[in-house]
Symmetry: C2
Subunit: 176 residues, 2 copies
DNA sequence: GTTTGTGTTTAGAATATTTCGAACATACTG
DNA sequence: CAGTATGTTCGAAATATTCTAAACACAAAC
């Protein structure tokens, strides 16, 4: 790799990953290194290049493989694991949308459900405060469900229009 | 607020926010509290309810206001600042997409540009390694630019189709 | 103009996360 | 089977983040 240019790239990827909320700075640097390297790189070489311990690279690279940003490949002459950067960013993005964003949205929905159930124990549904809470929970749940459906559609290759998720009030979002 | 139900909700929002990559657990709890509260709540009351110091709430609530998840309102009889949850989640989502995701994508693009510029200093463009690096940088930049354009379109209310950002090879993505 | 109520800043304590090196496990080599 | 090369796990050290209480700043009240 062209050395000085490489340093710029690693720094940049590190910063970008660090603020992404999904991966860490070091993972960004690892990816940056591999991405500019034509041949697969061994764990020790990565550790060397980034001035990190082998164990730290081992841990962090697992996350990268997990998100399909890096592939583990075996190199004929060597017993070591080697790694190369994936180039299918689209796939990575889908993975993140599925496993991070949608997971998060479902968590919100589940929380609304559970809260509503718990609230039902405490107060009658004619209670003014109870009605207020129910209405708020509904609004939030609906938003989350809408975005979730939108991402799902997008993942499957369909177009997503904002007002489909947003503008239309409630009943349009029925299952069928 | 219905007490037990509230606790469930705060916990859930805390967890959801914590894994969101944008806001913190505490900010999730603050939002959760305000969201189920019909009336604006003072800073000290929030600190009380969440068992946190006033200063901590002060710091954390600033982020919430920043992302438009919470509004500061003034309550007639009182000198204190009061806060209420915003209900326009759509707006919040746009804000996050603009200020977080797109910012991040631009950072990637800028890094590619700068790396390419730096690489140009070091090696001739006929150099095999140099060509490889250039090609990779192009691919990454193009992906980032595509997603960026997609989000922009979405923000403006237009539909976004995956293959527009992804499938079509390069030249379709011209400015006009 | 002093006092009182309020939000913010700050310095350090508490807590969580990252990183390292050593110990360990496993699989290949001879 | 003994020995070596390799990746992973583990406990401690280093670092970063979150949180608190006290000091501060500012405005309203008296």
């Amino acid at each position: 790799m062209v050395k000085r240019a490489g340093a710029v790239f690693l720094e940049g990827m590190g910063a970008a990953f660090a603020t992404s909320g999904v991966l860490s700075q070091l993972q960004g640097r690892i990816f940056g290194l591999l991405y500019l390297e034509p041949e697969p790189v061994s764990l020790d070489d990565i550790a060397d290049a980034l001035d990190q311990s082998k164990s730290n690279i081992s841990i962090n690279i697992r996350g990268l493989v997990d998100w399909h940003l890096v592939r583990r490949v075996s190199v004929p002459g060597s017993r070591r694991d080697h790694y190369e950067a994936a180039t299918d960013f689209w796939r990575v993005m889908q993975e993140i949308m599925e496993r991070r964003f949608r997971w998060n949205l479902r968590q919100v929905i589940a929380t609304c459900d559970e809260t509503e159930r718990t609230a039902a124990e405490g107060a009658s549904s004619r209670d003014k405060e109870r009605r207020f809470v129910d209405q708020r929970l509904d609004a939030l749940r609906q938003f989350a469900a809408g975005v979730d459906a939108g991402i799902e559609a997008f993942s499957q290759g369909n177009a997503v229009s904002p007002d489909l998720m947003h503008g239309t009030p409630a009943k349009k979002r029925k299952k069928s």
